[in-house]
């Protein structure tokens, strides 16, 4: 993998100086490009993101910088002697520019769900216990309890600064393991670097924010890297029941690609002693245990992958899937009983319903009514392109006489999860995430199927052009939802104000689930989201009825930019919806505005005397008009400008009144 340096006796001072100068420039140029890239985005305003997301605000200079980085990387990776520090600097720069730029732009952790994670952590930190009935995620409390422990060690309520840079940190952590996985697939020293480049440019899924999935993906990569590096075997025969099938597949494939016999691809495994292997197996068990306690889905992917490798005799860890299965089902049976005892349908309802899962993950999302649908098309296009190039890479490897069973299994196995459940409409995202490391290996194989294949001029141009074009598509696919994934500082302060204002046992009503109102004291509130039948009109009557669903001493309506942006993009609401809905609710004396800042508003809601009518009750009038027909919603198409918002009034019950 590393460059073979010439011996001291044969290196002339001039050649040595040239090598050092090349290396110096090779390291300095990416760092300069990082600075230039960040300078170009210093004035970007994430709050101005529209239907296509943050890419609408990104300057051309940024894409020129990343283009220059791609060209520089291409020049270095196609050299006869690879220079590890130089390539490392380029990959470092790529990660910072692609995965760190948004943290630099927004200066506040994005994704409203991150604030829910803060709330779950806050509960454990405050009470020293978990509460499975509080939230489904509390049934896998490992990540949140570790964060609570970390907060205590740090002496803070929340490691907030780390949350902002968590995506960058996690992507750095993935790099050495991705490199290791790619190295196990080929002896060609160029393949791991091209794999890294492909992975980071194609990784639009964005599951690297501060969440159990990000940490568990690290566990997944480590587990796979150790198994492939230390416990892989290419010489064991298939088990008898499938040996005939395996031989037939091999013969048919050989006839199709015109290869007589296949050799196993991959580099030699790392030699280890018995003691080392015992320790590594212990480490794998500990890593899997940590994963089982902290995430629902990652242990499933790991179990499927290792089982497939064992069945195909590609690993010597024959009994390990059994141990993994025992650990997984033991925890689910006893540790997560609070979840599955009431959610059997969620867990197993989608089993075998592949069509339903695909519809939840793809079909429903493509039904979005605005220009935002182009973001979804971009994601589908990138995913389809990745899978197509993966197939090309596989075919090129087969035609060169190499069979890569382990990475192929790694690419295929995640798709089996689609037959299990839709995971709240995110199953395809997770499938793409877990298959991407292996897909990236085959993307590298599409370019360099064997060591003997030269990285010629034509190939270099194709690689560089693809790299340059992938950057904007990455920004469109990954940050296309920025309008409602962005959480501004004022939005965050609005949620803090809500925590200050709302006493215990209050009901908190929101118009949309995309919000950050669960940032603390989660067990003290009843959370009400306006039911789907009320959308997209959001009448006052409907909001009041939803609020009356819980008998609480105090009820608050919390409206923030994250909710409003999601509603706007999903239902085509106008850009003035935030002010329009405020005017609408204030037309009804039951609502009083007690807090506002540019991105968050809090209202008290008086539900006295209102009889709650369930959504499926025949008495529930369909929400076909705005509740108050003379309100601003009905006047949206009028030529006259809407009246100004009323001033914030003093709130009853000595509640805080804060003006911006």
């Amino acid at each position: 993998m590393t460059s073979t340096s010439p011996s001291p006796q044969t290196t002339t001072p001039t050649k040595s100086a040239r090598l050092s100068a090349t290396r110096l420039f090779g390291i300095v140029i990416p760092l300069v490009l990082v600075l230039a890239g960040f300078a170009s985005i210093s004035d970007v305003e994430a709050s101005l993101s529209g239907p296509l997301g943050l890419i609408e605000e990104m300057p051309l200079q940024y894409f020129l910088v990343t283009g220059a980085l791609v060209v520089s990387f291409t020049w270095h990776v196609r050299r006869r002697q690879l220079d590890t520090p130089v390539l490392l600097a380029h990959v470092f720069a790529l990660i910072v520019l692609l995965h760190g730029a948004v943290s630099f732009i927004e200066q506040n952790p994005r994704f409203p769900v991150v604030y829910t994670h803060i709330g779950l952590t806050e509960y454990i930190q405050r009470t020293n216990e978990s509460l499975p009935t509080l939230d489904a995620r509390m049934n896998w409390p490992g990540f949140f309890s570790a964060t609570a422990m970390l907060n205590n060690i740090a002496g803070v309520d929340s490691i907030f600064p780390f949350l902002l840079w968590a995506p960058l940190a996690f992507n750095f952590m993935y790099a050495p393991l991705l490199f290791t996985i790619a190295r196990t697939a080929s002896t060609d020293p160029r393949v791991p670097w091209v794999t890294l480049w492909a992975y980071y440019t194609l990784s639009w899924v964005g599951q690297d924010y501060f969440a159990p999935q990000a940490l568990n993906f690290l566990f997944f990569l480590t587990f796979v890297a150790v198994v492939l590096r230390c416990f892989r075997t290419d010489r064991a025969a298939l088990p008898r029941p499938i040996r005939r099938i395996g031989n037939s597949v091999s013969q048919i494939t050989g006839r199709v690609v015109r290869v007589e016999k296949f050799q196993p691809g991959g580099s030699p495994i790392l030699a280890t002693t018995t003691a080392q292997r015992a320790l590594l197996v212990g480490a794998l068990a500990a890593i899997y245990a940590a994963s089982v306690m902290s995430h629902q889905l990652t242990p499933v992917f790991l179990l499927l992958y290792i089982t497939a490798l064992v069945v195909l005799r590609k690993t010597v860890l024959r009994g390990f899937p059994l141990l993994m299965g025992v650990m997984f089902f033991s925890f689910v049976s006893y540790g997560a009983i609070g979840y599955w005892s009431g959610h059997m349908d969620d867990l197993f309802g989608g089993f075998g319903k592949l069509g339903g899962t695909v519809k939840d993950n793809v079909g429903d999302k493509v039904e979005v009514e605005t220009n935002h649908v182009w973001v979804i098309y971009a994601r589908l296009l990138v995913a389809a392109s990745v899978w197509t190039i993966t197939a090309v890479g596989l075919i090129r490897r087969l035609r060169s006489g190499r069979s890569d069973i382990a990475p192929l299994v790694g690419f295929v196995v995640p798709f089996f999860v689609l037959g299990g459940q839709s995971y709240g409409g995110e199953a395809i995202l997770r499938v793409f995430l877990f298959s991407l490391p292996f897909a990236a290996v085959f993307v590298a194989f599409a370019l360099l199927p064997t060591e003997k294949v030269a990285f010629g001029i034509r190939k270099s141009i194709v690689f560089a052009l693809a790299g340059i074009l992938l950057v904007p598509s990455y920004w469109l696919a990954r940050f296309g939802n920025e309008a409602f994934e962005y959480v501004s500082r004022q939005n965050y302060e609005g949620s803090l104000a809500l925590m200050r204002i709302a006493p215990e046992d209050s009901a908190l009503v929101v118009l949309d689930g995309n919000t950050n109102n669960q940032i603390a004291r989660m067990e003290q509130f009843a959370y009400i989201t306006v039911p789907p039948t009320l959308k997209p009109q959001y009448s006052n009557e409907g909001i009041l009825n939803a609020a009356a669903g819980v008998q609480a001493a105090h009820t608050f309506l919390y409206v923030d930019r994250a909710q409003v942006s999601n509603i706007q993009l999903t239902y085509g609401k106008p850009p003035t919806f935030f002010d329009d809905i405020t005017r609408q609710v204030l037309e009804n004396p039951r609502f009083k505005l007690i807090y506002e800042n540019p991105d968050a508003r809090i209202f008290t809601v008086d539900t006295t005397g209102i009889e709650f009518i369930p959504p499926d009750d025949p008495r529930q009038r369909p929400a076909v008009t705005g509740g108050n027909n003379t309100g601003p919603i009905a006047d949206l198409n009028a030529d006259t400008p809407p009246p100004p918002l009323p001033a914030v009034d003093a709130a009853p019950n000595n509640q805080e009144v804060v003006n911006p």
Partner: protein, 156 residues
């Protein structure tokens, strides 16, 4: 041989040996280093040990500062892993680094779960345990890998 930035370093001794793995036999090239066989982990651990002690002292004195916050993040990311990875004696730097991060964070999760069962997230206790784990590196770290047994190659 000349290493990065023109510095001299000891030439590795490539050894081709046949060793037994699981159900088959693999012929591999082994890297037998002249120095400690997990050099990256040793270096990281050398940095993390004083950092862990400093953090524990800050926790005992209840010092509130950004330094304590970032030290705690570093400890949970690198501390225990940098000590425990040395037992694996893996010469592969990339795999070492990945294992350091993963074993540290996995240890953090397992420790947090244990503390959760005891309903006790005391800062001093938690940082003390992580500090102890950071010091649990092998006492002798300069031994090269033992020679593998020589076996006749057999059919897979």
């Amino acid at each position: 041989m000349i290493g990065p930035f023109g510095k001299k370093r000891a030439r590795p001794i490539p050894v081709t040996e046949t060793a037994r793995f699981g159900s088959g036999y693999e012929t591999v090239n082994r890297y037998v280093g002249r120095r400690a066989v997990s050099p990256l982990a040793v270096r990281v651990n050398a940095v993390m040990m004083p950092a862990a002690v400093a953090l524990t002292i800050m926790a005992i004195m209840d010092v509130r500062s950004d330094v304590r916050m970032w030290l705690s993040v570093l400890l949970i990311l690198f501390g225990p892993g940098s000590a425990l990875v040395q037992y694996f004696r893996i010469p592969d730097a990339a795999l070492q680094l990945g294992l350091i991060l993963t074993i540290s964070t996995a240890t953090g999760i397992l420790l947090a779960q244990i503390l959760l069962w005891f309903n006790n997230f005391d800062a001093v206790l938690a940082s003390g345990i992580l500090t102890v784990l950071t010091f649990l590196h092998p006492v002798r770290r300069q031994n090269p890998l033992p020679k593998a047994e020589s076996k006749t190659e057999a059919k897979a």
